[in-house]
């Protein structure tokens, strides 16, 4: 059985692979900066953008992009008010986004089914417009983040000395936040609001357990992520499962396996 014979599966594999590379690349920096939950906050805000799109009759994906970006800046503003408690901002924006989404959904009673695809992801429902958006924006983000990876590494490691070495920390932080927001919105289309954070954090977590250098951290995270998405898509097609959930289950099984093997090795 050649599942790539189906157009929708071809689109799913292209969008899925790019999202996998994107989410894991951003995820490594997000985890190192102790912002693991930012994916959850932004994706819930993106969901309210989806609802706005459905309510006012424009493409929900655009709503997700705009609301995710706005939420990212809101997080930065709230973070400044709670200097040492960054997670307060993440929690506020996550619940605020969800609250707004719930209110908007209750206003427009007719679009519940469509909304589900944004909640849990619907890789097989990805349109060719989606594929172009995900590929175009995704590649721009991946290339620019790889270009800035040296600066991002220095900032993640020690922000103060990065500033003193002349790195434009504020500009790079703002750019990174905006790119994270767009990446999350793109990933929402593929794995859904509830699972975005998993795709960002789990590959990074696996690489932290196994990496022997920063370079290998990236290689491992991207490899695990792409493997999880491709094998998850295939498995979900064959056994008729929800693709987003299957992908995340595969990734988290790998994480548990790695932790288990490491423990055995130590004892």
């Amino acid at each position: 059985m050649n599942i790539l014979a189906y157009d929708f599966m071809q689109r799913a594999f292209i969008a899925g692979t790019i999202t996998a590379i994107l989410a894991s690349t951003m995820g490594v920096f997000v985890v190192l900066r102790r912002m693991s939950l930012i994916g959850d906050s932004l994706s819930h805000a993106a969901l309210s953008g989806v609802a706005v799109g459905m309510l006012f009759g424009f493409y929900p994906f655009y709503g997700a992009l705009i609301f995710s970006a706005l939420a990212a800046f809101l997080i930065e503003i709230i973070r400044k008010a709670f200097d040492k408690y960054a997670e307060v901002a993440l929690a506020v924006v996550m619940s605020g986004g969800m609250g707004l989404a719930v209110v908007l959904i209750s206003l427009g009673k007719s679009f519940n089914a469509d909304l589900l695809s944004y909640l849990f992801g619907s890789l097989v429902a990805v349109t060719s417009t989606d594929v172009w958006l995900i590929s175009g924006l995704g590649l721009i983000i991946i290339v620019s983040i790889i270009f800035l990876s040296k600066e991002l590494f220095a900032i993640s490691f020690d922000e103060e000395s990065a500033r003193v070495s002349g790195i434009e920390v504020n500009k790079i932080n703002t750019y990174f936040t905006l790119m994270t927001a767009i990446a999350v919105a793109l990933a929402v289309r593929v794995v859904g609001t509830l699972l975005v954070s998993a795709l960002m954090v789990i590959p990074a977590a696996i690489s932290l357990q196994t990496a022997k250098s920063f370079r290998s951290t990236f290689v491992i995270a991207v490899t695990v992520s792409v493997f999880s998405v491709i094998s998850g898509l295939y498995t979900s097609f064959v056994f008729d499962l929800a693709p987003g959930g299957t992908i995340v289950l595969i990734a988290s099984s790998i994480l548990m396996l790695v932790i288990g093997v490491k423990r055995l090795g130590q004892s």
Binding site: L32, K150, E151, F153, A154, F157, D158, E159, E160, S161, A162, R163, V164, S165, G166, I167, S207, L208, A211, K212, S213, F214, R215, S216, T217
Partner: protein
């Protein structure tokens, strides 16, 4: 006349840091008022003070991490506001000592990240390796370059952070409480490295510490930070037990002049 002017110019070139009438406040509470100090080429200046005396704040103002309420800082005779020669400065932050030990990077990668500001990011692999090797050799850590940072002891890590600050071959090194949480013998070794950098590599050093017992006979100058001001003693002979007692709030038991300090905690 000509000669005098030349001398003046020479003097200016030797002033690496000038703090002029500097004041700073946290949320409206003044912590530094009209501070003046000069760091000259070749100095080894230790800034000492009690907890909360704003000695780290003063250092952050000197490297531009904080903006003064009034007054200014000149680095290499350039106003800090428009300063751009960041490669001439090395900085070991307090943050560095608190890093997550599971940060997935090798010693080599961390030291190389000191190059990334400005044009350093465009270094070729060969140049980068040479710069990193040189910096690690200066602190005696060149054997451990492929180890993960988390596998090292606190003292070894601190030496790596100094190498990271040295990798651009700066003229001056700023260190903010670098020996916090390091055992006594590693501290001694650490200060010896700083002395070597100062005497044999010609690197000017400014260090913030409350560790007067260890730093005293290593540093050439002592700056006491107290009562919102900085009192610089150009030679160790100027420093009396009274000065130290006033600054730190506790007495040194044995004479300062003998350069053998015993500290009453």
């Amino acid at each position: 006349m000509m000669r005098e002017r030349l001398n003046e110019k020479d003097m200016e070139l030797n002033d690496l840091v000038k703090v002029i009438d500097l004041s700073f406040a946290y949320n409206g509470r003044a912590v530094l008022e009209n501070v003046n100090l000069v760091v000259r080429k070749g100095d080894f200046l230790a800034l000492i003070g009690a907890n909360g005396a704003a000695k780290s704040t003063l250092m952050k103002l000197m490297v531009g991490l904080l903006k003064p309420k009034s007054g200014k800082v000149m680095l290499f005779n350039q106003d800090l506001k428009s300063f751009s020669q960041w490669s001439r400065i090395g900085y070991v932050s307090q943050q560095a000592a608190q890093i997550n030990t599971s940060f997935p990077a090798t010693v080599e990668e961390i030291v190389a990240s000191g190059l990334y500001g400005g044009l350093g990011r465009f270094f070729k692999a060969g140049e980068k390796r040479e710069a990193v090797g040189h910096a690690l050799a200066l602190v005696g850590m060149d054997q451990l370059s492929h180890r993960l940072i988390g596998e090292l002891s606190g003292g070894q890590r601190q030496k790596v952070f100094v190498a990271k600050a040295l990798v651009k071959r700066p003229d001056i090194l700023f260190l903010d409480e670098p020996t916090t949480g390091i055992d006594a013998s590693s501290q001694q070794e650490f200060y010896n490295i700083l002395m070597d950098l100062n005497e044999n590599q010609g690197i000017t050093i400014v260090i913030v510490t409350h560790d007067i017992g260890n730093i005293f006979h290593k540093a050439g100058k002592i700056g006491c930070i107290r009562d919102k001001g900085a009192y610089i003693h150009e030679t160790l002979d100027e420093v009396t037990e009274e000065h130290i007692a006033e600054t730190l709030g506790y007495r040194i038991l044995k004479g300062v002049k003998e350069h053998k300090l015993e500290v009453e905690e």
